[in-house]
Symmetry: C2
Subunit: 272 residues, 2 copies
């Protein structure tokens, strides 16, 4: 919290990639957005980045405010949401490890960002981050590609909400989670049984994400279980037996191979 970044780049030489100091935000996960940047940039970023732990339901950015920070998630799940006039909430996105939050070169953020679970994040003062950005097309490129990812995610989400029956929405949500987070620890493969998925959010969060109610979510899960497509281990843990059928129900058509191909393409460009 009070770690002085004033000494700048020199001091953080030992904080850099691969360093095991807990004061650095880098060098831990494989999926961080800045993984492909040059060492010099990582050093500069490390000098202004601060790790932070959020308690569940803690508010990181309030809707409509002009956030003074940008950053990315290292662990846990954050939800991006909007509270409507009538008090209803709508969740427009979930942030997991590697996802960025906040906005450069822009004013008020129309959504609030809250911790859906206990979280660890890395945040940068917005102005200092923007200063770095001014001098680094490389960093700007990463941001641009990151936006593309977010856009894909948002539109895939649109496809989920477009489903008429909530059982299809829920089916799609499971596929969505698995596709986006397969690389994280929440999922494990067990060839005999299927794929284990830990749901990181409550029924209420899911309902608000899919535009339904908790009761509908619950019924949908149990209907999926009746169809032998999943097994409910606990309300927060499932085993997926038939991914293809879930995909078919939800209408999500992109296969994983396509997803991977696109991700690889982006990585190549980033490295270029």
């Amino acid at each position: 919290m009070m770690r002085g970044a004033a000494s700048g780049m020199d001091k953080s030489l030992d904080d850099r990639v691969g360093g095991d100091r807990k004061v650095t935000c880098f060098g831990r996960s494989e999926s961080l957005p800045f993984q492909t940047l040059s060492p010099e940039l990582l050093v500069a970023l490390g000098a202004i980045g601060r790790p932070k732990t959020l308690a569940c339901d803690e508010v990181l950015v309030a809707a409509g405010e002009q956030p003074g920070i940008v950053g990315f998630v290292m662990d846990g799940v954050l939800r991006m949401e909007k509270t409507l006039i009538d008090g209803q909430r709508q969740i427009v996105g979930l942030l997991v490890a590697g996802d960025m939050f906040g906005r450069v070169f822009d004013g008020a953020f129309p959504f609030s960002v809250e911790a859906a679970t206990e979280c660890e994040i890395c945040s940068f003062p917005k102005t200092r981050f923007e200063t770095l950005l001014e001098g680094s097309p490389e960093l700007e490129r990463v941001l641009l590609l990151n936006q593309l990812n977010e856009l894909d995610s948002a539109r895939e989400w649109l496809g989920l909400l477009a489903n008429h029956r909530t059982i299809d929405k829920v089916a799609g949500f499971l596929v969505f989670l698995h596709r986006r987070w397969a690389h994280l620890a929440e999922t494990r493969k067990q060839p005999e049984l299927g794929t284990l998925i830990d749901l990181p959010i409550s029924r209420l969060d899911m309902a608000e994400a899919l535009g339904t109610r908790t009761e509908g979510i619950s019924r949908a899960f149990h209907a999926l279980q009746d169809r032998k497509l999943i097994t409910i281990v606990t309300p927060y843990r499932f085993v997926i037996h038939d991914f293809d059928e879930l995909e078919r129900m939800s209408g999500l058509s992109e296969s994983e191979s396509e997803i991977d191909a696109r991700a690889a393409m982006r990585a190549a460009h980033t490295l270029r």
Copy 2:
């Protein structure tokens, strides 16, 4: 199974621009994304940009393909859509004058882009555009801000789809259109009567955009008329009498002043 907007609408949207065959794509509209770029860049862009006219329902980019072009819309409306496994289509975005399409530094585009009306676009060969981009942080900045806009749009769309009753979705859609396109010719203010809005798309397009059916859209419009909130002039032309109530129904909370403030903020940064 031919689909497309009624020919009656074609007439109403047609002949607006006249038949001038300028070689350049620039210098006409106030709302083009590249308006703030330096003259040198505009010249360079003008050298590789080519205007093009699309007939209604013409396919500009097929889903899953790697488009060879990027560009922006000069006139008309394009829809970004995805055809699901079962043949159902989902519209994830509408592109109007000033909106960009295509993607730099990325592979296959997961959606198809089709003309919802007769359109005029300006397209650049992707590779040449990327070459320009490599040497121009200024241009990259514009793209980044453009992505932010698209993200906002997609998430606002999410809010629409989250509404349970389709009358609320339709109400929100009208507000959405007016906010995004108020600067275009499709809307006109008439203080005594309300605001005139020309809907540029068919009932089917709207249904697929909002995740419902044409019958529901139709019923919703007439229910809104019964409540004296709108007047249906033709199936493609409405007069809005009570915008505030429509906003309230849809849950869209951001006021226009906020929207304007954010747009101004972006413009300032772009100009910087």
